[in-house]
Symmetry: C2
Subunit: 322 residues, 2 copies
């Protein structure tokens, strides 16, 4: 295998734009602007579990960074720097070149400086740590939701799940929308504009990586609330176009992970400002329900008014059993 | 396997002391003090390459963090925060408990806040990203050495190599010193006091992870210098005590990695201040040579005055061929 230094130099030595000292020393150096906090998150992806040996490496490079950007956006912070640690089974230059290309494409699209890395031989594993900045005290946590706050979701979650089920289980997707779904799965779009635009508006926020209902559970648990989801309000129209099956579309929307849309709560009075933020960020948002008292639990209200109670364990019944 | 959330809660949910928001949200939040830069480094350890399946997990927990602290100290920065990403093949609670215990012992010893993590199933892999702070503009880089600067090393590098050769190749170590060597290998002591104490004194610094000569090469390359190493000045006395073989001791000192001692250059005028810093930090330092003009290359001067020229490739001849 080429030495670690050669690998890093060849594939990951990009210019930095807002970093005091990039890779190549014992540590990188950066300055957090005065009055801002640093937001930090880390995410490990393992071959065979988070991606497959035949996953397109360029898409994987994009997605590895994109899912981390999403975590920072979900705090209302702006992602700015990342480190990459990479274990590789062998010196597969074409794979590595494509992976680095996809990663750089995402880094360039979102103005992220790659400030350091580690490369080693081992089972293919990708670990990115991401850093963003947010004005002090203005991050949007999961725990700030209050009963009465309205629940919102960005975009059209479920497209990634439909793509996964298409690839894995052979469910049919209609051609004009199939590519949208595949794009959502392979090259997710982190909501890095919308997240910061919701500071001061959203009371609680996270990004949906494991499924809308499951991740909503984290808001409910930390905010001490219940919630009502209005099934007819779910933004499933494009999903129904894609798969032609309203029940499947709703299942994808409620349980599918991997779209990295933002799920957030906000007082009703913020509705106009939220729609303004959505327009400014170029990302649609949809009101899908409301936070309630904790005792009310999590309830899905169907079009006919039927109320389906979901317990925490009940989320599982929507879980992707892949 | 227990869920990711359970694992993190059970083993890694420690109180934080100088962090605005610890784990459990999309990102952690921290404040870098005004007038300071953030120093960032990342390091991936893979089972079978960096450690073995039968490595004591408590020692591994300690060492995983300690080697990262060393990178920050080598910048003259003070380590303060860390993230941990962990892939585990199965739900091996005893292993994980011991690993977490060793990691926490090191974190507590050096006042490190663990601010986030990710746990997943996969081949056992440990990735720590470490964060330190340093007054702006005062970090000690590898590239600041100048011809005439004296070369210094902290501690007694080579003990970890002797321990490795003892365990792997069966070389004999004398009992009273064997434990010191094994401790150096399994529970290295990052020089977190000495590193920051050398700000304004050392012109170039790094920590020795791959071997004194090999790592010196990084200073020479980035500083544009050559170097003379005085073989009789090498701090090998405790190594000779341990292995009873002067040649083996010198080889361990020059080529052995894994001790995480600090190798630094400084103008001769700083000698008294360096000795003061050494005393204040409680870490011995030894002058082992001098930086020279680049054209002079790297020369090892033996006790009889014989000069052994080493090329960059020549470092390899000291490399541990494990």
């Amino acid at each position: 295998m080429t030495s670690e230094f050669d690998l890093i130099r060849r594939y990951f030595h990009w210019p930095v734009h807002h970093t005091d000292l990039g890779g190549g020393d014992d540590a990188a150096l950066l300055t957090v602007p005065p009055g801002e906090q640093l937001a930090v998150s880390t995410d490990m992806l393992v071959e065979g579990r988070h991606f497959f040996v035949d996953t397109d490496p360029a898409a994987l490079g994009w997605k590895s960074l994109a899912v981390n950007l999403s975590d920072i956006a979900a705090m209302g912070a702006t992602p700015r720097w990342a480190t990459l640690a990479l274990a590789l089974p062998d010196d597969d230059a074409p794979w590595l070149g494509a992976f680095a290309g996809g990663l750089r494409e995402c880094a360039d699209a979102y103005a992220i400086d790659l400030i350091g890395g580690d490369t080693t031989r081992g089972p293919r594993t990708i670990n990115i740590t991401i850093f963003g900045t947010v004005p002090t005290g203005r991050a949007i946590r999961r725990s700030g939701g209050r009963p009465g706050d309205e629940l919102w979701i960005s975009g059209h979650p479920g497209r990634a799940a439909l793509a996964l089920w298409h690839l894995r289980d052979g469910i049919a997707l209609n051609a004009p929308w199939r590519d949208d779904c595949l794009h959502a799965l392979h090259r997710p779009t982190p909501r890095t504009r919308l997240g910061p635009a919701l500071r001061g508006l959203a009371s609680a926020m996270l990004d949906v990586s494991d499924g809308l209902l499951g991740d909503l559970g984290h808001i409910l648990e930390t905010s001490g609330c219940g919630a009502r989801i209005d099934a007819p309000a779910l933004p499933v129209a494009p999903l129904i176009d894609a798969c032609g099956d309203a029940a499947l579309a709703r299942r994808a929307c409620l349980s599918g992970g991997d779209d990295y849309e933002l799920l957030f709560a906000a007082p009703a009075a913020q509705r106009p400002a939220i729609l303004d933020a959505s327009r400014a960020a170029g990302v649609p948002v949809t009101r899908i329900g409301q936070l309630t008292e904790r005792e009310a639990g999590l309830v899905l209200v169907h079009a006919d008014g039927a109320r389906e109670a979901l317990t925490a364990a009940g989320f599982d019944h929507f879980a992707d059993r892949g």
